[in-house]
Amino acid sequence: MIGTGAARMAGEVTDVAPVIQPLAEATGVFSFLWVLIALPLAGAAILLLGGRRTNRWGPYLGVFTVTAAAVYAVVLLIGLMGRSPDDRSVGQTLFEWVFVGGFTAPVAFQLDQLSMVFVLLITIVGALIHIYSLGYMEHDPDRRKFFGFLNLFIASMLLLVLADNYLLLYVGWEGVGLASYLLIGFWQWKPSAAAAAKKAFVMNRIGDVGLSLAIMLIFVTFGTVVFDEVFAVAGEASESTLTWIGLLLLLAAAGKSAQFPLQAWLLDAMEGPTPVSALIHAATMVTAGVYLIVRSNAIYDATVFALTVVLVIGVITMFLGAIIASAKDDIKKSLAGSTMSQIGYMVLAAGLGPVGYVFAIFHLLTHGVFKANLFLGAGSVIHAMNNQQDMRRYGALRAAMMITFLSFAAATLAIMGIPPFSGFWSKDDIIHAAFEVSIVAGIAGMLAAGITGFYMTRMFTMTFLGKARWEDDQHPHESKPVMTIPLIILGIGSVFTGMALLFWGDIVGWLVPVTGLKQTPLPLPTIVYEVITLVLVLAGAAIAYVKYRKDVAVEAPQDVNFLTRAARNSMYDDAINNVLVVQPTYSVTRALVGVDNRGIDGIVNGIAAFVAGSGNRLRRWQTGFARSYALAMVGGAVLVLVVLAVVRLP
């Protein structure tokens, strides 16, 4: 088996190509693969169509469907582990969906190693967040609708990762976009929430255009959209075509995963209820872009250019997100910046090609757990502080909320990459892999880890340590067990997921048949890189601790440097989008309106005015006197005669 550190330390070269596993018929425990999606979908349908009658028991039904799906996912995992490592791809075709000429797209599911880990992440984290929401949304009058939307999201996300062709994936892709829109705007009576939902939808749409173009290009090039069939012949297409497909898929991934330059929607998406932020905008949906890139590895492996662009986008976003997270005072927005940054890590890893795919997914899984933990912890704090989200109004919450404090601490250490917490294993693997490909990417990963140390310690210190800066009417208290139990489970997950996946689950060996793996020895022992990273992280943490341990001004200080000001404004993403996209669009629109008003309408109105005007003048001839008409007739007849005479004269 391929251990990550072991082979590298032994100086061995690993080069395993991905294999296209034979698609086994879904029998035995796999025969009910479709139920996995049908369960939450049925839940959503019942809750959303059932109306007020389901108000009383609806939320519990929502929790039940997802929990049942999670249990079935574990059964599927056991079934998949029972098969041989190169034969873990199970397919189930429900029916032919589209057949036009040579184009066919079935509704068919494919469960392989990659889908499996996603299914587990989605259903287990999803179930925990559903349970947590029972407490968090307890007093919301619309909570039946909320659980309906959450179920819809789970169903769409499962469809996305289980689809065996790009077209069906697109259905899931749009489904999660819709659910995200509905949930960001869940409190639609707040204008800011409605605007944020719209913004997320529109920016996602830009990425979706990339995905639909990519699917069209894939069909034109390969004649099919089924994953296995495309990947089997991916190498035969011309490199420029593959590069275009790769770039369009990257555009799609950037939209969904809030990567540069389509990152601006994620911070505003925090207008949604906190469980939504945890489930959709941290743990699962925003990682769909990473899934898309890793799933399409056969395409990216054949185009160095697209892969390099992926790498660069990942690095840019990693820093953008980290810097934003360091300056935001709103706890959720800071976490959103951190999400951007961590997904930047994953995209960076995916951009390393076969060297990094495995670690992108590994980090995605650990991140899904500890980021959900952080968001739910933040939700618990927000709940306790009467919906106050400003960290400058927190402080000294450790004593009041011990469980939240402990689980948040575990997640903080995990995201900072302190050994042996889960983030350490995945993040250091990404940094090692980055050094194999490019020293610049490796150093970037290390520096971003240092910034992670800074912003997470800042958040943690401002929230739980220091002096209380509460408003007078705030009496923080620990949340109810329905909220703290998911926190405890996720907190334990934040500690052990990394180790469990790596040593007990052998995540690398598990994923290699799908993604392939290349490893070459690094010039220095891996421990050196780990120590340097750790030193940077601790340095960042120390700076933040010293700075925010004592008094934090309740009002944000204004005499700050340019970088802080920019980061507080989310690196001016709205202003930049406004100047680069929105205003030019307005100008074009105005120009087109001008052309339409003056040009097109001018011609049409001109013709009409000419006809009307000449008609007005001509009608003066209609005097009503019969004798003048007769005279006109005589005149006309005479004229005709004269003309005839003149013409025939010669």
Binding site: R619, R620, Q622, T623, G624, F625, A626, R627, A630, L631, V634
Partner: protein, 99 residues
């Protein structure tokens, strides 16, 4: 007799009819002038038929008579109706149908 004379007579009658239509105000007289023009045309048809040795013109003359008779029926009815409502047979007075 030279058939050309008939043609000349037809032209003279037609001209008289035309002038009558243009200058007279009484609807009945205008109507009679129109009849004169029609019959001038008939005369020309018959004369030309004779000159050509061809019966077509004579056949057309009969057609014209039938049409003229029908036209007289409709036209006189209109004139009588207008006279009843306006107490006048002037052709210039009913000039409402205009711009």
């Amino acid at each position: 007799m030279n058939p050309e004379n008939y043609v000349i007579l037809a032209a003279v009658l037609f001209t008289i009819g035309t002038v009558g239509v243009l200058v007279r105000r009484n609807a009945i007289v205008v109507f009679m002038s129109i009849e004169l023009m029609l019959n001038a045309a008939n005369l020309a048809f018959v004369a030309f038929a004779r000159m050509q040795g061809n019966l077509d013109g004579q056949v057309i003359a009969f057609f014209v008579m039938v049409v003229a008779a029908a036209e007289v029926v409709v036209g006189l009815a209109i004139i009588v109706a207008i006279y009843r409502s306006r107490r006048s047979a002037s052709i210039d007075e009913p000039n409402l149908l205009k711009y």
